[in-house]
Amino acid sequence: MPAERRYRAAPPDALACVPLDALTLVYDRRSAQTHLLATPLPEILAAMGGQWWRISDFAAHLAAEFDLTGDSAAEAPAADQRAVIAARLHELAQLGLVEAR
């Protein structure tokens, strides 16, 4: 069975981030590309810090940081949350803002 994929955000000094009204501008100094990110991508980048994350660990970290484990009946099940976070990390990896291995 292959090892679970892990993700790490670009180092902070590689990016210049400017939050605007609806979007956050992100300039990547390594590629000289400008990205416009909608929420929650900037928040995910910031929450990743400098470490490598497995999806399940990062989902738990986000749940704790953003209080996603409330008692609301409308809460998405944990498996759905993990799928959403995996999709967002994949998008960030395609932009080159997150490393995957």
Binding site: A16, V18, L20, D21, A22, L23, L25, Y27, A32, T34
Partner: protein, 288 residues
């Protein structure tokens, strides 16, 4: 190149070489009242014959310079002036690195700049030309506005205004005949006539202005005004810039600062008179 002249427009200093004398004589006449170019050229333009023998048989002007588009339309020699203008625009759009280039017109009043961006036909050039004829405003440019990356200042590029089709009659009715170049009929863009900016625009062409309002005009609809938020403004201005990506982080820093500090509006207007009134009203509100 057998013939050459030098022309200074804002911070640009062109050296224009040509296989023929006629287009350069027309250019020299059009730019006769511009401040003279001193120092070394920072943009080069060539007007050349496709093959040497064509210079005599069936003269056609190809354009080139530091940058060349291989398939750029050859124009008959009678349109040498238009070819020269296209070549100078091409050099600015593709070759200029010192400033962020916006495909936008601009006018200045009290040290502040009103920048107007839009596609051909939006009325940005005509509005700027009309404002430039009124006592309170200085025309900074009808086609390109340069942004200094560190300061965010707008720099002028007051080439002769390229009037097209209906705008020709609108301006010839108001402006002295000696400020117009020859009427160029049936060009690929329709009828074109160049108008030399008012003397105040040429005298102050190297004086920067602080951007105070950005408008995206649309000619031909009822009067409407819509505010544009910073992120939409960022997208629109990167689309309007020919060299944003080339400037790297200084360009990013400059543009992201500009969209947070300069208000922007999309406006529609049915005719020049109501467009001018709307611009004056929005300018007063922006500075209030």
């Amino acid at each position: 190149m057998r013939h050459s002249i030098r022309i200074s427009v804002g911070p640009a200093h062109f050296r224009i070489g040509s296989d023929w004398r006629e287009p350069l004589a027309q250019l020299a006449a059009l730019y006769a009242t511009y401040p003279s170019a001193t120092g070394s050229a920072n943009a080069t333009v060539h007007l050349f014959a496709a093959r040497p023998w064509r210079r005599f048989l069936r003269p056609a002007v190809h354009i080139g310079g530091d940058f060349t588009i291989p398939d750029a339309l050859p124009l008959p020699l009678s349109m040498g002036l238009l070819a020269a203008e296209m070549a100078m625009n091409l050099q600015m759009a593709l070759g200029w690195r010192r400033h962020m280039l916006l495909h936008a017109s601009a006018v200045e009043r009290g040290g502040r700049a009103l920048i107007m961006s839009g596609q051909s036909g939006s009325g940005k050039s005509t509005l700027a030309a009309l404002l430039g004829e009124s006592a309170d405003w200085r025309l900074m440019g009808d086609e390109f506005t340069l942004i200094e990356p560190l300061s965010g200042d707008a720099l002028a590029f007051p080439r002769p205004v390229s009037l097209k089709n209906q705008a020709i009659a609108e301006m010839t009715a108001r402006v002295a005949a000696d400020r117009f170049g020859p009427l160029l009929t049936a060009t690929p863009k329709g009828d074109i006539r160049h108008m030399v900016p008012r003397a105040n625009a040429l005298a102050a062409m190297r004086r920067p202005a602080v951007p105070a309002l950005i408008l995206f005009p649309r000619f031909g609809a009822d009067v409407a005004v819509q505010r544009i938020g910073p992120s939409e403004l960022f997208v629109r201005l990167t689309e309007a810039s020919t060299n944003y990506a080339l400037l790297g982080e200084p360009g990013f820093a400059s543009l992201s600062r500009m969209v947070q500090t300069v208000p922007a509006l999309a406006i529609s207007y049915p005719d020049s008179a109501s467009g001018l009134a709307l611009v004056e009203q929005l300018w007063a509100e922006a500075l209030a």
